[in-house]
Subunit: 348 residues, 2 copies
DNA sequence: TTGTAGGCGTTATCAA
DNA sequence: TTGATAACGCCTACAA
């Protein structure tokens, strides 16, 4: 042994099989910058070197290190996603859409929960920024428009469920109002006149819009709004169950119930069951979202289809476009009523 | 203007308000290394400097950059989580537990889906490694024990649902076998003898164990296993529904059904409904997991409680302990039967 | 078109 | 106990 141990660097492979850009450069006989340029398409490179480098990349199994990229001011190939509660079936489906779509472009999502809490949400975004994500997708939430817009100054941002404008900011919403109208209309067409409504948390535009749709349909049918038939809740199963109790404690009788999301509808169903009211025999029930759970509810739940998965895909697609420097345009399917077995024509 | 523009560096705050460790050092009148040492507790530092640095950190609102840390070989304060399908209600609850617990220690989870697919899972882990996560939590999955163990050579790892050993490797399982026994026993106690069983994907230890529990209970009661009453499925609602069809196509009659998770039970319920079989009047039904959906199923589902949320918390706790260099020990609650309305005493 | 040099924000290694 | 100094792996002027 004549060589001293320390500089014993085997150029082509380190202990754990991590290959660096520098090694690729060496193997291809070019400079690191050239490799970088080829990787990022930053500048024109001669075809010969391009080939050599690509061969080297393949041979060595090189994969750029996102962490180093992030530090160097480049991209991290990761996009932050602010959800509210990661365990909710609603967000679950959206996240799946986001993950799948992002993956196609080599991006990885970083999910953080806002817990329907302004501070948490703020912290979530900070976390994301400190992790150098390339962009942020915000699903609903409580942060003010101003605050979100400000973040978008330094980062591409996609916001679902609001209307915001900005150079690096894209937002889109599902047509919740139309959805709310369809649901209510369906009930009216079945002959119902006394239709109760469980609103979601009215801090959300979504919730408000669904309620507006409810009003629209009633108005169109010449049915007066009865405040006794409206309760506000929180989009959870437990909330839906509670809402039904409150509704039943009042004097107003109703033959149909429109819960502004599936989770509350499911909860309401149990609440009705507890009072010995049958769905749809005693009360017709409509939900909103068409989550998987709606299909498997008992009875299967009539609801308004908004493909949450598609919304996730849409958000991711928009983000990728933004990242590409383009102008996203997302075409969401129109809301549609899915009639199942929880609603029935009024016969009495 | 006598100074030339380029070096115009305002030491205390850059355009976007990002403060670096170096700035903290400067403000506190110490070297960057000292700041780093204080941050990481790497070495002893005089109290005076410690105070000064901490004051500077507070004043400047400094937050260490995880990306830079990751590059420098330090920690990224992030742990990777390999789930199977992020949209599943089961994983949702687990992820929530993981996220909450990790957050308490300043860690952020990175979720990636394995999609019940070996290749995806392998890729997921690679992604995680290239992102320099400090550790990996694996929830079930198809990767071989050997492969997982190998990954654990270079990284702390927690595996849920298997038995693996290793210096940086910790694994724990819920007592699925006992759970399966409890479920079946409950049915037997209600007088049922012909108890059908829907197994999960038997690639999972979990699924196998639940089935073993089913066998255990039958054996203890002196009931012979009837292969006609057993079908294998895939842990999804759709799978549960399909399983019921297959069961009913066979000649064997049954008065009770044990589905080895809640999702399949819910699906089975719909399947029975389609054949005009009532739960629990015609068939008593038991699930497994006690997800939220069980509570709100119609009728509310009798099931075996395993707190998926707790499992998530446990996995995270174990990981933090591993990261701390300690030996984790997770105490999971015993499985327990939660009797609700989907089962009833056989009267015929 | 290509290469060199410097920097991104931390941590780790050595001296002092 | 402290502080230079050199990585970490990549990107991006700048120069050639």
């Amino acid at each position: 042994m004549t060589t001293k141990p320390p500089p014993m660097k085997a150029p082509s492979s380190r202990p754990d099989g991590v290959v660096t850009l520098e090694q690729v450069a060496e193997q291809a006989g070019v400079s690191p910058s050239t490799v970088s340029r080829i990787l990022n398409g930053t500048a024109a490179v001669s075809q010969a070197k391009k080939d050599a480098v690509q061969a080297a990349i393949r041979d060595l199994g090189f994969r750029p290190n996102p962490v180093a990229r992030g530090l160097a001011g480049g991209r991290t190939l990761s996009v932050g996603v602010v959800t509210q509660i990661i365990s909710s079936p609603f967000y679950g489906e959206a996240l799946l859409g986001i993950e799948r779509e992002l993956e196609r472009a080599g991006y990885v999502p970083m999910f953080v929960s806002g817990n329907w809490h302004e501070d948490d949400e703020r912290k979530a975004i900070e976390t994301l920024l400190s992790r150098r994500v390339d962009g942020v997708i915000v699903l609903a939430g409580r942060l003010s428009d101003a605050e979100l817009t400000k973040v978008a100054d330094s980062l591409p941002m996609v916001v679902v469920g609001r209307q915001l404008e900005g150079p690096q900011l894209f937002s889109f919403s599902f047509d919740n109002r139309l959805g709310g109208r369809l649901a209510t209309q369906h009930l009216i067409e079945q002959g119902h006149r006394r239709i109760a409504f469980i609103a979601g948390d009215l801090i959300h535009e979504d919730a408000v819009e669904r309620q507006n749709g409810y009003f629209d349909a009633l108005a169109a049918a010449g049915i007066a709004v009865d405040p006794n038939l409206i309760v506000q809740s929180d989009f959870t199963e437990a909330g839906g169950m509670l809402a039904v109790s409150r509704l039943l404690e009042r004097d107003g009788r109703f033959t149909a119930l429109f819960a502004s999301n599936d989770q509350m509808a499911i909860g309401a169903c149990l609440g009705l069951h507890r009072r010995n009211l049958r769905v749809p025999d005693d009360v017709s029930l409509v939900g909103f979202d068409d989550l998987i759970m709606a299909r498997y509810a008992m009875p299967p739940l009539t609801t308004v289809r908004q493909s949450v998965y598609e919304i996730g895909v849409g958000a991711a697609t928009a983000m990728l476009e933004l990242l590409r420097g383009g102008k996203p345009k997302v075409q969401l399917p129109e809301p549609a009523l899915v009639a199942r077995e929880s609603t029935r024509r009024m016969t009495r």
